[in-house]
Amino acid sequence: MTLFQWIFGTLCAVIALRYLIRMIQGDGSRLAAIFWGLLWAGAAVTIFRPGITAEIAAWMGIGRGADLVMYLGLLAGIGISRYFYSRLRRLENAFTELVRHIAINQLS
């Protein structure tokens, strides 16, 4: 194993373990812990076994493992952007309603 694998693979595995502990302890959202735990665990596996992405890519009919990672990253990026945009809009709407309520009530 290379130095990179030792450092970053171990780091990813520790983070994934941390989410697993959080999930068992019921600390915070279980769904978020599963999502992030799987993501970090996946990162650790692909660092320790770089060939695995190529195997999965070949199985899915995608040419290279790097392409598979890129597609998944792109999809995740779009999903995360949409999630945060929706949250931002909800927050903006709630704030606007509050300011509107104050404006109308001050007059009444």
């Binding site: 949409r82 945009y85 606007t96 509107r100 104050i102 404006a103 109308i104």
Partner: protein, 236 residues
């Protein structure tokens, strides 16, 4: 055709609430309200968190004044005015910009036309009426907005970003502006299209001045506006 009785109408009835969103309009809003009050007895000014003394100037006129504690944008100010007018029992609600671009008497024409044809929305159109001193860059931007709206909302109008509108109570109840800034003009058209209620376009006059152009929509902002509308569609 408008019948004679309506043509001679000199003033709108008191159940027509005119909503005027205002942001830093202290130098202009006094004369605007003076002209507006000649034709509309019920005016609601929404001061959108102005940093100048807009509110002090407005208080000198016999109008309702609502104040946003922070600046939210024209769309939010219009929705505040609409919500308030509905609570106060308005049967018709108009929107009218505070920068002096509009001709108050156009509201009378819009009211007459709305009642005559039994529509729920009357939208002012400078391209059917007149646009005085309009720069070519503004003309181009507005025409692009017209085509963009036709593509996005499927609503076929000649002027998409005109601040003078009139709607019935029923029509206003179907409007809920969530896009606080200038995108609200497209959002209103979107909601009109989805309401299925009838709308008409009425020729109006827009007068551009150096001040109104300086405060108005910049061409670069139009690109941001289109991007925001597109993002909103994707996130829906």
């Amino acid at each position: 055709m408008v019948n004679d009785a309506n043509t001679n109408l000199q003033k709108l009835p008191a159940d027509v609430f005119v909503v005027v969103p205002a942001y830093n309009e202290a130098p202009r809003i006094g004369p605007v309200l003076e002209g507006l009050l000649e034709v509309a007895p019920t005016v609601v000014v929404v001061d959108d968190g102005s940093r100048d003394n807009t509110s002090e100037v407005v208080r000198r006129s016999p109008v309702w004044l609502l104040r946003h504690v922070v600046n939210l944008g024209q769309g939010a100010a219009i929705q505040t005015g609409i919500t308030f007018a509905l609570q106060k029992g308005a049967n018709y609600i108009a929107t009218f910009d505070a920068d002096g671009q509009h001709e108050p008497r156009d509201l009378l024409t819009m009211y007459n036309r709305l009642k005559e044809v039994g529509a729920d929305y009357a939208l002012g159109s400078r391209f059917l009426g007149r646009a005085e001193n309009m720069p070519w860059s503004r003309w181009l931007m507005l025409k692009a907005a017209v085509w963009f709206t036709r593509l996005m909302s499927g609503i076929w109008v000649t002027d998409t970003h005109n601040g003078i509108r009139l709607m019935t109570r029923r029509g206003a109840e179907r409007i809920h502006i969530t896009m606080n800034r200038m995108e609200h003009a497209s959002e209103i058209l979107d909601q009109i299209a989805r309401s299925g209620y009838r709308f008409i376009e009425v020729p109006v006059t827009i007068r551009y001045s150096a001040e109104s152009l300086a405060k108005g929509q910049k061409t670069t902002a139009a690109v941001r506006l289109a991007a925001k509308l597109f993002a909103e569609r994707l996130a829906r």
